[in-house]
């Protein structure tokens, strides 16, 4: 298969697999050690069964993670991998991806890892737009350290470290990402494999940094955090499934819609009627500006999770750091020729002693 015919032009620099792959090609021999029932299992299975679809040489795929339950992920995939230190995976992956455009580099991180200790690296990776796919497992808790509140926990959360309730307002990871100039921002849920894989596919197709927030249930320390989005009784009213080019409608009988308030430009949810049906906002993931995507990230209610958009909120092309870095190297060679060490060391002001 040549680069032109590859389904993922964004991965055209990565060598292709010689033969078709299956899910088991991506399973490592390591015993998976998450708590039984943890949402991480579902994500792992979804990723393992998705990767063959990319058709990439397995040895050219690398998963880099930080520290946390979620960050154990690379051990369970039979690709190259690095389980690094808390919060630093985006920085490490940046060096790897920037120096090796022939690799498909994935980052696995948690809400504490990415947004607390590693917040700085996350925002800079996003603005820099290195070819990285960042999977942020958001369970709204610190799992590995046994249940302290995290930067995505709702205000007032009772945990071991906040017996009277947490005081600090959480981050909205997708708002943050858009503020950090992210070109690709999406959200999905551990339990919906089909949706999860569709988002992974879109992320893989994207050239540059992609941030995928995955709502992940920690059944030990924050069980049911996303039940509103999963329970048949509530999910239709809670979930807004975004599809590019489609009017944003949801709820029972698609009776709810997202509308723009002409006065403020803000977005709001309202019942769709015969009168307003043609005014339902049509989702444009490729809109040049981030404004509408940002407004979408603000729709969800922090506590009930009602009106939570999932899918690709934003996918726009921006210059890609690693490609530009390579271009500068190529330009330097074109302009000055390949570096000659003897010439460099000699410089312009020399004298001889015989």
């Amino acid at each position: 298969m040549t680069a032109e015919t590859h389904a993922f032009p964004s991965l055209s620099l990565v060598p292709k697999a010689a033969a078709p792959q299956s899910m088991k090609d991506f399973k490592s021999d390591q015993e998976v050690r998450w708590c039984p029932g943890c949402g991480d299992y579902a994500i792992l299975a979804a990723v393992q069964s998705f990767l063959p679809e990319l058709g990439l040489a397995r040895e050219n795929i690398v998963f880099v993670s930080g520290i946390g339950c979620s960050s154990r992920f690379p051990y369970y995939l039979n690709t190259y991998g690095m389980h690094s230190i808390h919060g630093r995976a985006p920085a490490i992956a940046t060096g790897l991806a920037a120096s090796r455009p022939d690799l498909s580099v994935w980052v696995v991180t948690g809400d504490g890892d990415a947004l607390s200790i590693g917040g700085n690296h996350l925002i800079h990776a996003l603005r820099r737009n290195v070819n990285l796919k960042i999977l942020l497992f958001n369970n709204r808790i610190y799992g590995l350290t046994k249940g302290q509140y995290s930067p995505t926990s709702e205000v007032g959360k009772i945990t071991k470290s906040t017996p009277m309730g947490s005081l600090d307002a959480p981050f909205n990871p997708l708002s943050l990402a858009l503020g950090a100039e992210a070109g690709f921002v999406a959200r999905t849920i551990d339990s919906d494999r089909k949706h999860l894989q569709s988002v992974l596919r879109a992320a893989a197709e994207h050239q540059g940094t992609a941030l995928v927030e995955i709502y992940q249930n920690c059944n030990i320390f924050n069980d049911g955090a996303f039940d509103a989005l999963k329970e048949p009784a509530t999910r239709d009213d809670a979930l807004i499934r975004l599809e590019h080019g489609q009017p944003i409608r949801f709820g029972a009988g698609n009776g709810q819609g997202v509308f723009r308030d002409p006065a403020t430009g803000d977005l709001a949810v309202a019942e769709v009627t015969a009168d307003n049906a043609d005014r339902v906002l049509v989702h444009d993931a490729h809109a040049a500006g981030p404004t509408t995507a940002f407004a979408l990230t603000r729709l969800a209610a922090q506590d009930t999770l009602h009106n939570t958009p999932i899918g690709v909120l934003r996918s726009v092309q921006r210059p890609v750091y690693d490609i530009q870095m390579q271009t500068q190297l190529d330009q330097a060679v074109a302009q000055r020729g390949p570096g000659d060490l003897a010439t460099l060391l000699t410089g312009s002001d020399t004298w001889s002693v015989d």
Binding site: P15, S28, Q30, A57, R58, E59, N60, I61, V62, V64, I67, P74, Y75, L77, N78, T79, Y80, G81, M82, H83, S84, I85, R88, A91, I92, A93, T94, G95, L96, A97, A98, S99, R100, D102, L103, N120, H121, H124, M325, Q328, L329, Q331, A332, V333, Q335, G337, P338, G339, L341, A342, L344, L345, T346, G347, D349, T350, W351, S352, V353, D354
Partner: protein, 689 residues
Amino acid sequence: MTSQVDVAESTEGEPLSEPSPGAGMLGSGGDRPGSDRPGRDGQRGDGKRVTKLDRVVIRFAGDSGDGMQLTGDRFTTETAGFGNDLSTLPNFPAEIRAPAGTLPGVSSFQLHFADHDILTPGDAPHVLVAMNPAALKANLGDVPRGAEIIVNTDEFTKRALAKVGYAADPLGDGALDAYSVHPVPLTTLTVEALKDSGLARKDAERAKNMFALGLLSWMYHRPTEGTERFLRVKFANKPDIAEANVTAFRAGWNYGETTEDFAVSYEVAPATAAFPAGRYRNISGNLALAYGLVAASQQSGLPLFLGSYPITPASDILHELSKHKNFGVRTFQAEDEIAGIGAALGAAFGGSLGVTTTSGPGVALKSETIGLAVSLELPLLVIDIQRGGPSTGLPTKTEQADLLQAMYGRNGEAPVPIVAPATAAECFTAALEAARIALTYRTPVFLLSDGYLANGSEPWRIPEPQELPDLRVPFATEPNRPDGSFWPYLRDPETLARPWAVPGTPGLEHRVGGIEKQDGSGNISYDPANHDHMVRIRQAKVDGITVPDLTVDDPSPASGRGGPTGGAGLLVLGWGSTYGPIAAAVRRVRAAGGRVAQAHLRHLNPFPANLGEVLAGYDRVLVPEMNLGQLAHLLRAKYLVDAESFTQVTGLPFKAEQLADALTAHLRTADDTDTADAVDTTPEAGRDR
């Protein structure tokens, strides 16, 4: 007075990148300065007397905005090209533009050049150029009586004098009677020289440093073509400024030639005997280090990846390497030091020569990632250009106080090899040596340079490509187990290095991480015995690194009780940038009849294998350091020797005289009649100083 913000960290006050509207000149268009290289007969073309000297120390001092670093650099370049041996000491404030005319705002550049080999920038200037009262006041204490002082009288106004606390004008009240003072209205003369240039007065004034450079160039018979060429290139897109600077430069030269006040000029012959045959250039430590890194990349066949965050005095390496993209060098200016080293480590995982450059505060931030690199057993260079600490400390001053941080500054047992260059030029070979260790043993390596080495410069014999070491190491390409599987921690029995299998290699897919792993398979392991084994094997790997033996310079006749090579009772042992002043002090002491042995460590972890034996061979060991005794501490702990410290943490290098005095005092107190007479260590006692 000092700026509170880190933004203020900088180099010198006259950024080369921001050309000041310079000056034009007294377009007498006369003789090209330097065209009449004087004969060696005591008279030059202008009929003035010529005195021959074997060495000179000049200090240029002015406001941080006066361009003293540029002036010093130019004088240095001409001096290097002329063939003198030389050593320099730039000394400047941390503020970009410290308040004008104040003592903290003084910037200086000292240059020592000679017709023989020298080791230091000199203890005390023979000539001080003081561009204003602050420069005079800040530097006078270092100037020995009898020295020449050239002052810019235009700046000696009531206000300027009062600003630095001069109640009376030192030029008029006899305060400088002990010196040979040349009062020169440098500003007026420069403006006058540039009156036809069309430049505004304020802009014309800015060329006064070039006038001063011209004058000093006349005094010391320096070549001038290079400086004129330099100015024309530097201001290529501002030809009027280029011409103004050249004009001011020539005017300064002509002033020396024509003015009665300068009756004598000086010749310092090239240091022909000091240098082995070869092609030479002048080089600063940071430039040598950057070139060493490029050379290491070429010699290893691995692309260089630098992850770095700007910090004085390391930023110049980032700047330099970013110019060499045609060598395949990738430079990544990260969001912080942690990301800088993280990216370098990520690149190393991918098969690059990963490097991070920083100074002490940055090392503190990188510690956790260095620990990860120890655990991953990947090659990585951590370059620390030490500066005054703790905390922000003295950003532009030198210190050696990060040794213990490099040695121990991580959680857990996390040994990291350490190399340290002794001179500016040696930064080149130190980079290659650090790369050799990192690549051979798959380990992070510290390279400890410092502000003095970084900014100081000296002649460097340019190595021929075939002199450079072969640093190629093979990547793993094949499974290494009988069953066809790959174990990422299956070690080379000799080096204990693990295989380096880079992504993209089919069949060797593996995971590494900072969690303890089983030796061999690399799988996560919490087994107590395995952890004990891993801690010990990581230590053994570093301990087993082959480093050259320590050589001792001990020419004293064997006395039966001295060291392995000679008969001295006292060994002076240093590391890093103290080499020059220590060696100069040792020369003095020996010239005065003192018996002292000298050795200098380039490897601090592991120490050379013969170090214990060397130490045991001497009655006394003195360890001069620009910290509170960190190497002495390591020596005492490891070798149970009574190593004595001699320490200074002023932010400035030791002076040779000060060390010579310390050595002499030691020889005196030692019950050693052979050496008790070693007391005359005046500067002229030895040949260097």
